[in-house]
Each structure stands twice: as structure tokens, then as C-alpha cells.
């Protein structure tokens, strides 16, 4: 049977995977995802060429489209980075979504309290508020893990749900932040002097993009060139040895979750003060989860995250045009994202391991 086929093969770890192997398998993953996408597009009743064209032009077809993609990429870079720093240590933080909300909410709250007119003061407060909000939200699961041994996957997922409800409450008719006499769950628009500056005249690309790029560079430095990065990677590879050789797991866990949560919080602040310009339940159409996929696809590499985020931002952008032109639901993108993740995972496995055929024993 099928099991017998497996008997003739065995998996062994490759010592030196050449760059060709890595790239080759990666491309294979992309191709597989594309094939599945085409099948789904056909199923939705659309023409594959039209769909591909509208998707691509919607993503990168012109200057406006490209910039829109970069706008979408901004929060994705940050949530991707948040995932990288945690996953590298094999800390399964799935709470980017909730941490993003927390950052947005903390940023908004500080904005309300500060009530200042100075643009750069507002920006600094927003950045600090966003980071702290997300960091606090990330710190809680760390505390739960260290003191109560609560699995971080479960605690972060639960907190996602709780934060979503919390935001909904704050924006509801009985909540404190709702724009008076509005039908929607949203706050009033942010005052002009709290907007994050635009990078180019006439386009919506905002300062958050710069923040994201700086954050990526800082994370790259930390991960590969500092003792903290060393500890993070050591802990991810072998927590027992790391602990036995003097790396404190509880301290590290908390530091990582604070940084990770903070980065997602920054994403929330950026979206609030740079893109959406008001706090609403629309603040994140799944940026947190997409960030996870981006980080995995980028191989947990901070610079790779930038590239992947721009690609996925493009996809998100293109999906809108896709739906308008061909009628294929933009939800296709969510499926594609998950498929890409799966195929990249498999391809990465194939790169690290080789399958060898066993000669039959006479």
C-alpha cells in the first residue's frame, strides 16, 4: 500500500543546501500556489488571464498602485517583524492581531489625553503609545507562561478575541470613544496635527512606512549582531542547553514578547495615525495573521520580511481590483496566502532534508 512506498525511501538531513536548491524549491512553492489559485479563479467563473492581469495591475500596475501597495505593506512589515523575533525563539506568539489593537488603542488614548497641537510631539507620543500598548498586550502571555506555564499559542489567541471585543465595546454606542451621532463603530477623525506626515505630495504613503523600515533594520542588527539576538536564536534552537548555559528563559521570554507585542502595536499606531485616521473595527483586516505568513515565507529574516510584506501588500491591493473587474471574491487572497505558507513550509523542508531511495536488500 501507500505505506510500503514510504519504506523504500528515507529522509536524511542535508548538510549543505546550495543556493540553487533553496531558490529552486521556493519557486516550486510559488508555482504550486499559482496553480491552485488558477483553479480557484476558474471555479469562481472568471478567466485566468483577466484575473491575473487585474491582480497584477492592481498591485503594481502604476505609480499610484505601487504606492498603495506600500501603504498596505507598512503594517505588514511590522507584524512580520513581530513574528520573526518571537518565532526565532520558537515562541509561538499568535497574538499580533490583538497586540495591534492594543497599540492602536493605547495610541488613541494617549492622543486624547495629551491633546496637544505639536505635530512631532503627537508623532512621538503615538509611537511610544503604540509600542507600549502592544508591549503590554504581549507581556501578559509571557507572564502567564512563566508563572502559570500557560501555552503561549492559546493565551495569545484568547487575548486576540478579548481585545477584539474590548475594541468593539470602546467603539460601541455605550462606549466612550464612539463618534457621536455616527451609525458606525468608529471614533471621530484624528485632528490634522496628529496625522503622520505624508512622504510624497499627493499620495497617501505616510511616515509609518519609514518607521517600519527603520524597525526592520534595527531588528536585523539585533538578531544577527547582538548578544540578545544570539540568545534569541540559541533559545529557539535548544532551550535546555540555553538555560543550562546561563541564558535565563523567563527573562528572555518576557523581553521577546514585549518587543514582539510592541512591534505589532506600532503597526496599529501607524494604521491609526497614518492611514485610517480614525479608530474603527476596520483598523486591521487580518494584518496580524498575514504578518505571520509573511515572516514564515521570509524565512524569519528581517530584511526578507520587507520584500515579502511588499508582495503581500500588493496582493491585498490587487485583490480589490480583482473583485471589481472579474467578480472573483477578494477572499481568494486569504486562500492564496495560506497556500503559499503551506507550500513554502514543505519546500523548506525539502531543502533541509533529502529523500533517498534505499536499495533493496537482496
Amino acid at each position: 500500500m501507500i505505506a510500503d512506498i514510504f519504506k523504500n525511501y528515507k529522509i536524511e538531513e542535508r548538510q549543505n543546501a546550495s543556493i540553487y536548491t533553496k531558490v529552486g524549491f521556493f519557486i516550486l512553492a510559488i508555482v504550486m500556489s499559482l496553480i491552485i489559485s488558477f483553479i480557484l479563479i476558474r471555479y469562481a467563473g472568471a478567466d485566468v488571464k483577466d484575473a491575473a492581469k487585474s491582480l497584477f495591475t492592481g498591485a503594481f500596475g502604476g505609480k499610484r498602485e505601487l504606492i498603495e501597495s506600500l501603504i498596505k505593506a507598512t503594517p505588514l512589515i511590522l507584524t512580520g517583524l513581530a513574528t520573526v523575533v518571537a518565532f526565532k525563539a520558537r515562541i509561538w506568539n499568535i497574538g499580533q492581531e490583538g497586540q495591534l489593537f492594543a497599540g492602536a488603542m493605547m495610541g488613541y488614548w494617549i492622543y486624547l489625553i495629551a491633546d496637544t497641537q505639536f505635530v512631532w510631539l503627537n508623532i512621538i507620543l503615538a509611537i511610544i503609545g503604540g509600542f507600549i500598548g502592544g508591549a503590554l498586550c504581549g507581556w501578559i502571555p509571557a507572564l502567564l507562561k512563566v508563572y502559570f506555564k500557560v501555552d503561549e499559542v492559546l493565551s495569545t489567541v484568547i487575548i486576540n478575541y478579548i481585545m477584539a471585543y474590548f475594541l468593539s465595546f470602546m467603539l460601541s454606542a455605550t462606549g466612550p470613544w464612539r463618534q457621536a451621532d455616527s451609525f458606525y463603530q468608529q471614533t471621530p477623525l484624528i485632528a490634522d496635527n496628529a496625522h503622520w506626515p505624508l512622504l510624497f505630495e499627493g499620495y497617501r504613503l505616510h511616515f509609518g512606512f519609514v518607521v517600519a523600515l527603520i524597525a526592520a533594520f534595527i531588528m536585523y542588527l539585533i538578531m544577527s549582531k547582538t548578544p540578545l539576538g544570539y540568545e534569541i536564536r540559541a533559545f529557539g534552537s535548544n532551550p535546555s542547553a540555553a538555560e543550562a548555559q546561563g541564558i535565563s528563559s523567563s527573562k528572555l521570554f518576557m523581553i521577546i514578547m514585549i518587543i514582539s507585542g510592541g512591534l505589532s502595536g506600532l503597526a496599529g499606531a501607524g494604521e491609526l495615525f497614518g492611514a485610517e485616521l480614525r479608530l474603527s473595527s476596520r483598523i486591521s483586516p487580518g494584518y496580524g495573521f498575514t504578518g505571520i505568513i509573511i515572516a514564515m515565507v521570509a524565512g524569519l529574516n528581517p530584511i526578507g520580511v520587507i520584500v515579502a510584506a511588499i508582495l503581500f501588500g500588493g496582493l491585498l491591493n490587487g485583490a480589490v481590483r480583482l473583485q471589481v473587474v472579474t467578480g472573483v471574491p477578494s477572499a481568494l487572497i486569504s486562500v492564496i496566502q495560506a497556500m503559499v505558507l503551506v507550500f513554502v513550509l514543505i519546500s523548506r523542508l525539502l531543502t533541509s532534508y533529502r529523500i533517498r531511495r534505499i536499495k533493496n536488500v537482496a
Partner: protein, 516 residues
């Protein structure tokens, strides 16, 4: 080095052969484990596989048990060619195996573990038949065992007996034992040998894998010597000497003793007072241990697994909390400090499980050499890691300790056990520690590396370092130690100066017989 001739096989002899192996070859990515090995095993024979660690003995056994698939070669049972694709095939052909690391499910009982091996039988578990049969087997071999105890509650010797029971229960013609005496006291080993003799009389074939020459001489009829994956010879044990076997095993003349200088013992450096600690199950493992380690001395700790040695070391290097008692280093209280703090105070640690506790497998050799020291000022520059200094020191360590690696950037998980252990030693010695904790440092290493380690340890000893050395190999302890302490059930039951230490007495104490 002449290869002794194989005894001529007569027609009668041929009928006595149960297992015949021809040209068996098994390759792994890094190493050719078995290189065209041929031998045979007779009925009613105890046949030893002798070789250093890494010689290929276990791999060969796993091929016979169907756990690994040979890349080429033939296996014949009773003259018939067989293909062993899985342990199930091996079991069906009458081959059973007792592994070095027991294949038992801790949380299940003895009976339940045996029931797992039974493939036929009703869907709904019926323990009565199994229980009576097991009781019978225990009686026949003179072993006393609580069949309803959970495995984790049993001693190592008792667990091994359960492994043997599993094989006996389904009925085997050939029983393979892989390093069975590794964790046994000398007395338990004797008992095992007498059980094996009983089996032999019944016509069972037994393959006994070991690297201990004395055991081979004591228990086997014939021995097949393996060296670096190749078979050197198969000889009648009665016709060969211990020295000849040693030479065959290693491929060159073997020194049996490493020269130790006279005592260099100085002032006390590490004092342990009434130390208490629990094991992972929450039970008392270290029960009031008192020790004094001096500068320039090697204090050997003899003890069987499960008596608290592992937990003692873990408390000493800070991984496990002491529930009572104190530890003093150079007069200062260091009880329950974190592993990082203990390192900083100058206690180096060579852990028992080198891959789990000693290194980061995905990291390169040079990265592993700074593990635990990665925040030291000499490896930092403006808050960043000082690559140049790290690499420079790595090159130095590699040549000083003769570490075989393609480069300092090679991931350490691809290195052999001996080289990994050298990396750990190099790293710990960089700290210039005043105390070195070494728990089974030479386990699983081949003779060349073992010699290297012994020399280094003695060198440090003469430089004034206090070394706490635990080893299952009593001979190693007797060779290296200035004093030997025996640990049994979490307590020190005997403490000897080396000239007063006798193997038999220590063995008895390890088993809990006699002593304080």
C-alpha cells in the same frame, strides 16, 4: 596484526548455526557504519560484539532487528534468506532486542508494556493470561518483580528485566542485548550473566554488545571484533587474551593506564552541606549530601543511574533548585544561584547529555564556543558581538583541542560526539574555572578521545582545579580519582582515598549493600 582464521565449519556445525550474515553494509550521511560485515551465530551460544564506541556494533544490531535497513548484504536465519523491513519481521523470525536506552513506556505498568508486544489477541485487553505467563517466566529465571508497578517506579536493573521479559514472552531464538551493563552495578551485572547462561542452556542464541573487554572474557563463547565499521575477526573467547582483543578493537597497541602524578591536593574549594533536592517527579533524589572538593583534586562519584547523581550535578550548576542545604565556593554561599551566575563565579560544567544541555545544535562551532560567555566584555564591542575576536578564539580552540570540523562555521550538529565534547571542554576551560563539574564526560567516545580527555583533566588537576567527576565506568574513576565517593539513593554511602578503594567494595556500595 594477523587475523585469526575462522574455525572450519563441519557439516554438523552448519546445522547449529542460527543466524548467518554476509557482507552487510549500512551507510549514514556522515559515516560508513557497517562495511561488508560477515559472521554467524550458533544456537545455544553467547556471542559478543566487541568494539569501541562508534565501531558500528549498535547499527549492526539494529539492522538485525529490522529497525534499520541495510544498504546491501544478506541475512540468513536457519539457512533461509530473510528481509527484515521492520521490527515486526524480526520478531516474527524469532529475534528480540534489548536496547541500550530502554524502549519502555514510563507511565504504563510492566504488564501493559508487555501487552504492547502482543499483536495477536483479543481487541479487549485481557491481562490474566499475560500475568500468569510473566509470573512463570520470572520464577524460572529467579527474578522478583511487581508486575503492576509503573515503569518509572522501577530501578534500572528491574527495567532491564522488563525489556528482557518482553522478548522472552513472545518467544525468541536470538536475543540481542546492546550494552546491557552500562547502568548496572557489578552485582546486577553478575545476575544478568547468570540469567543469560540459563538461556543459553535452553538453546537460545545471544548477541551481547559491549565495549568492555572484561565482560567479553567473562561471559562469551565467541566474540566478533569490530573496528571503524569493519569486522576485524571472529574468535573463540577461550583462545584469545584480553590484550589481543584490545589491540584488535583499537587497531593499535593500547595503553591501559594513563600516568597520574602524585597528589596535588590543596585547600577546599567547593563545600556541599546537607544538600537536598527533588527529581522531576517531585520525589527526593538528593538526600542530605555532604562533600568537600579540594583544589587540585579529582573527586570521583560512583553511582548507578537513578540514585541522584544527575540531580546533584544539576543543582551544582544551577539548573535545579536545592530544597535544603548549602553550597559554598571559596567560602561564599552560592546555593541556588542561576546557571549564569554560577558560571561567572568560576564553576565550569560538562553536562551528562551533551547534545541536549551542552550545545546549540544549529549554531556553528565558533558560536557554540562562546555559549554562556556571549556577554563577556571581550566578545562585545559597543554592545554588538565582536565577530573578529570570537572567530580568533575559535580558531585557537580548534587547534589546541584538535577539534575535527570542516570549518568554524560548520553547524555543530554535524560533528561527531567526540568533537562536540571537545568543544564543550574547550569552552568551559576558557573560563579558567576553579571547579570543573564533569558528568559522564567520556561516555560514548572512542579511546583516542577518551585518552585526550583524561590527559586534559589530569593537567587541570595539577594546575589546581578541583574536578568533580562522575562516571559509569568504574575503571575510569579508579584511574583518575584521588578520592572516590559512592552515591546511593541520594546519599554518600562511602568515601575512600584512592589507595583504599577496592572495586568489589565500591560495587557493593553502589548496589546499596554495606556502608554508612
Amino acid at each position: 596484526m594477523a587475523t585469526p582464521d575462522l574455525p572450519t565449519i563441519t557439516q554438523e556445525d552448519r546445522q547449529d548455526i542460527f543466524l548467518k550474515v554476509r557482507d552487510l553494509t549500512k551507510k549514514f550521511p556522515l559515516v560508513l557504519a557497517n562495511d561488508h560485515i560477515s559472521f554467524d551465530v550458533r544456537k545455544g551460544e553467547i556471542h559478543c560484539f566487541l568494539g569501541e564506541n562508534g565501531a558500528g556494533k549498535s547499527t549492526l544490531a539494529e539492522c538485525l532487528y529490522g529497525f534499520y535497513s541495510p544498504d546491501s548484504g544478506e541475512i540468513l536465519i536457519n539457512g533461509q534468506r530473510v528481509r527484515l523491513n521492520s521490527p515486526l519481521d524480526a520478531i516474527n523470525d524469532g529475534i528480540g532486542m534489548v536496547h541500550q536506552h530502554f524502549m519502555l513506556v514510563d507511565v504504563l505498568t510492566v504488564v501493559e508494556n508487555v501487552m504492547l508486544s502482543i499483536h495477536s489477541g483479543k481487541i479487549f485487553l485481557d491481562y490474566s493470561e499475560a500475568e500468569s505467563k510473566l509470573e512463570g517466566l520470572c520464577k524460572a529465571y529467579g527474578v522478583d518483580l511487581d508486575l503492576h508497578a509503573k515503569i518509572w517506579q522501577l530501578s534500572v536493573g528491574e527495567q532491564q528485566w522488563v525489556e528482557i521479559l518482553k522478548a522472552l514472552y513472545v518467544g525468541v531464538n536470538l536475543l540481542i542485548l546492546d550494552e546491557p551493563t552500562a547502568s548496572l552495578t557489578p552485582q546486577e551485572s553478575e545476575r544478568l550473566f547468570s540469567v543469560l547462561q540459563k538461556m543459553k542452556v535452553q538453546g537460545l542464541s545471544i548477541i551481547f554488545i559491549t565495549h568492555k573487554l572484561k565482560e567479553v572474557m567473562a561471559v562469551s563463547d565467541r566474540v566478533t571484533v569490530l573496528c571503524k565499521g569493519k569486522k576485524v575477526a571472529t574468535v573463540d573467547t577461550s583462545k584469545v587474551t584480553l590484550e589481543e582483543l584490545a589491540t584488535m578493537m583499537v587497531g593499535r597497541e593500547v595503553l591501559f593506564r594513563v600516568k597520574k602524578t602524585d597528589t596535588t591536593r590543596g585547600e577546599p574549594i567547593l563545600i556541599v552541606e546537607q544538600l537536598r533536592a527533588n527529581n522531576d517527579m517531585g520525589r527526593l533524589a538528593v538526600d542530605g549530601i555532604n562533600l568537600t572538593l579540594h583544589h587540585g583534586e579529582i573527586l570521583g562519584l560512583a553511582g548507578v543511574a537513578g540514585n541522584g547523581l544527575k540531580e546533584l550535578f544539576e543543582v551544582l550548576f544551577g539548573l535545579r533548585k536545592a530544597t535544603g542545604g548549602k553550597i559554598f565556593l571559596a567560602g561564599k554561599d552560592v546555593t541556588n544561584l542561576s546557571p549564569g551566575a554560577i558560571k561567572r563565579k568560576g564553576i565550569g560544567n560538562i553536562p551528562e547529555d551533551r547534545f541536549k544541555m551542552g550545545v546549540i545544535p544549529d549554531f556553528s562551532v565558533s558560536e557554540n564556543l562562546i555559549l554562556g560567555q556571549h556577554r563577556h566584555t571581550e566578545y562585545l564591542r559597543l554592545g554588538f558581538l565582536n565577530e573578529k575576536q570570537i572567530r580568533h578564539d575559535a580558531e585557537k580552540s580548534i587547534s589546541e583541542f584538535d577539534i575535527m570540523t570542516p570549518s568554524i562555521d560548520h553547524p555543530i550538529k554535524f560533528l561527531s560526539g567526540g568533537n562536540v565534547q571537545k568543544v564543550i571542554l574547550a569552552r568551559e576551560l576558557r573560563l579558567d574555572p576553579s571547579v570543573l563539574l564533569a558528568n559522564q564526560p567520556t561516555r560514548g567516545l572512542d579511546v583516542g578521545v577518551i585518552e585526550f580527555f583524561h590527559q586534559r583533566l589530569l593537567e587541570k588537576r595539577s594546575m589546581g582545579v578541583g574536578i568533580l567527576l562522575a562516571s559509569e565506568d568504574l575503571d575510569e574513576l579508579l584511574e583518575l580519582s584521588d578520592r572516590i565517593a559512592v552515591v546511593f539513593r541520594g546519599q554518600i554511602t562511602g568515601l575512600f582515598d584512592i589507595q583504599d578503594a577496592h572495586r568489589d567494595e565500591i560495587g557493593l556500595l553502589m548496589a546499596g549493600i554495606g556502608g554508612v
